[in-house]
């Protein structure tokens, strides 16, 4: 709900009512919990011009999820959902691995890495496959008229099969040094993956601030029929939104495969769809569509990665991570749910508006 209706009564109220207040607070609390268990948690050191430390590590590892969550945000804002992103990550990773493959030759005692196709072609190929998957989803939703959950479920079912088809059922190992830069390289002291996230963030910021995309997506999410009647090219926008989600999943697939130096059709990006949905929800975007927050989704991705880090650092077995996330899903959903909000916030405007 838009808070512009309430008079500003002191900066603290404005702060508390800010949509990003809760996500940021959650992140800070999580970071402080980590600090309590690990005195060196905030410590960042410079090794050979590369920055190292827990915070950098969290940022770096959160980047694939951040990308997928950024892609998922507009989808959810249009009342949709994309449950196929995990499968698309696997397909994209498989594509990249197959295209690059790579061998190491020793020429005159020097290691020379050779890829099957030039690196840019492989990257473009993997991204294109992701985009294609997304457009397929978008076409089913926007032009065939399927419910988003169903349309994307199809690719969720078939996607891992396709990924395995590409890798012939094997876990393909990549032997091409330059490719690893994507997921593990450093630039100016920071992990390269962060620059990818930043670039995507800037592009998205441009699109939501300097074009009408944000307005149209929000309008479609709140009232698709009225948006269509107002002349918005709703179908085209939905197609783009799902296409973008696929593209982001493709990019995440690249980073992940570069990070683990292999592509596993069965397990790459496994259950990533839930992580992404969770990140978006944690960031304050409602699953019912409408207003969305890209910064919120980024913070959501960081929260999830920090949570993972926390479960490791407080000594809970890593397998419990899934349980912790599930509990967070339940709590966040219940807190955000309408009956709960009515219970907590006795705000007559909010109550009246929800009628």
């Amino acid at each position: 709900m838009n808070t512009a209706t309430t008079e500003a009564t002191g900066w603290h109220k404005v702060l508390v009512r800010h949509p990003l207040f809760l996500p940021v607070l959650t992140l800070i609390v999580l970071l402080l919990v980590n600090r309590a268990f690990n005195a060196h948690f905030f410590h960042i050191e410079n090794k050979d011009g590369h920055l190292f430390g827990s915070l950098i590590d969290i940022l770096n590892r959160a980047s694939p999820l951040a990308l997928v969550a950024l892609g998922m945000t507009p989808v959810i804002a249009t009342r949709g959902v994309d449950v196929s992103v995990g499968a698309i990550v696997a397909i994209s990773a498989a594509t990249a691995a197959v295209l690059i493959g790579g061998q190491m030759h020793i020429v005159n005692g020097v290691e020379v890495y050779v890829s099957n196709v030039p690196l840019p072609v492989a990257i473009a190929g993997a991204l294109a496959v992701g985009l294609l998957c997304g457009l397929w989803n978008g076409a089913l939703v926007a032009y065939v008229g399927m419910q988003p959950i169903i349309a994307t479920l199809i690719l969720m079912v078939a996607g891992r099969g396709i990924a395995q088809l590409l890798t012939a059922g094997q876990i393909i190992t990549i032997y091409y040094q330059p490719y690893f830069f994507l997921g593990a390289g450093f630039l100016g002291g920071l992990p390269f993956a962060l620059y990818i996230v930043a670039a995507v963030g800037v592009v998205l910021w441009f699109f939501t601030q300097r074009t009408a995309l944000g307005l149209f997506v929000t309008a479609i999410g709140i009232n698709p029929t009225a948006s269509y009647f107002a002349g918005i090219k709703a179908r085209a926008i939905m197609l783009c939104v799902y296409g973008f989600s696929g593209l982001m999943a493709g990019a995440a697939g690249l980073i992940i495969s570069s990070n683990v130096k292999s592509a596993d059709g069965n397990n790459a990006g496994l259950l990533m769809e839930l992580d992404a949905i969770l990140a978006v929800t944690l960031g304050g975007t409602s699953l019912a569509g409408g207003r969305f927050s890209l910064v919120g989704s980024l913070i959501g991705a960081l929260i999830i990665q920090t949570l993972t880090y926390t479960t490791y650092s407080i000594g809970v077995p890593p397998e419990a991570n899934l349980v912790v996330k599930a509990v967070v899903v339940f709590i966040v959903c219940v807190v955000q749910s309408e009956p709960m909000r009515k219970l907590i916030i006795r705000d007559p405007i909010l109550q009246g508006a929800s009628r």
Partner: protein
Amino acid sequence: MNAAASDLPHQNTGEAILHMTGIEKRFPGVHALKQVEFRLFPGEIHTLMGQNGAGKSTLIKVLTGVHPADAGQIVFAGNAVKLDSPEAAEAAGIRTVYQEVNLCPNLSVAENIYIGRFPRKAGRIDWPTMHENARTLLATLSLDLDVTRALDAYPIAIQQMVAIARALSVDAKVLILDEPTSSLDEDEVQKLFTLLRQLKARGMAILFVTHFLEQTYAVSDRITVLRNGEREGEYLARDLPRLTLIHKMVGREIDPDQLAKPQWADSKPGDTFINAQSISRRGSMQALDLDIRAGEVLGLGGLLGSGRTETARLLFGVDKCESGDLNVGGQTARFSSPRDAIKAGIGYCPEDRKSEGIIADLSVRENIILALQARQGLFRYLPRKRQEAIANDYIQHLGIKTPHAEQPIGLLSGGNQQKALLARWLATDPKMLILDEPTRGIDMAAKLEIMDQVLALCRKGLAILFISSEMSEVVRVSNRIAVLRDRHKVGELPAGQTNEHAVFHMIAGGEQ
């Protein structure tokens, strides 16, 4: 305002089966019912009348347990009852048939009648008995249906009757019909009324809610009028002249005669802007000829379901024409989406403002610039300053009452939402506006303001198609009136010959 109970007219000497007193209901920001009293006698059809927002539907919802009353007493069959849920109302013997058929389209006719209290045999549903019972019950309503077929295989009118059958399948003492006739044609309405009279003769107490004056007088024994959440009075239908009834509903502040007075713009209409030659669409509209000139208001006369909204949807490209020619601004046009129509300079304020018009959680500003921005496209984004200028301009110009342009439009009153929608189209600098029920559900003062706006726009040279179920409003603003019946055009009243009587005459089938 409340007449004392002793003053109320009596027809039956019997006790009222239902007596509601001092009913109070508040919603945030709205005092929907103020000390309302209501009585219902067995063997009587009692019509609840009132303008939109008078509290009719709230009173019905109190009675059906959907929104329990905040205060007040309900005496049913001699006992004080608490109706705090639909189940409680059902259990008491209060049955409701709603405007939109509230049955399950996927279940069979028989199931829709008996679900919740299936006949059983050995712990399982006894289908043969149920089908037999359903056939027998429907036969008493003169209906012969295949009760095993899914409900949605039948037209709405039949579904409506099945809903009544469901209500009657148990020992109902009170039958509430909430605007059941809105989607029925005249023939079907008569069938329904015959049924109601039968039920009345059997001693059923019937509460009937409708907008239609004709229907009110056709079946009612008693009329209760609500206005602004208060009871204006309870009358025997035969003692209440129509004009008085209208006065009671509208209140005394506005002279209904003034509404009836034609106000149409006396400007000289210009060139023909839109010209439709026998456009049609199966199941929607039969060969329709229509032309509207710049600086002219064309009114569409016709009853609900006569094809008014369908006409608007064809002209705006929501539904595609299957045959016929459409000429817009001197060029042949084929609209395959609202976008095409918007590009041709047409704007459309739809009938269902909430679900097809406003985008509730967006601000007034965003709602106003939306169509303009959609036409500009994704990349030519209007700068925020420009948006604010446009929005504030229209807020001032049309007198939209909102604290500021950033208020979510959903929080505005109906009339102000309608003005904002008008602003949305005016911002695109249109050549023609299609206004489908622009005055529905808004108060009288706002209605007049909207109609004045329409006339002002017409004087500025816009072509306007004006649709309203309030015939007086159509007559008031239109230069010419095209009259529809049963999804085709039956005639047109030229400028200077528009009056309500002529429209009704034409609808009724008098050839002219």
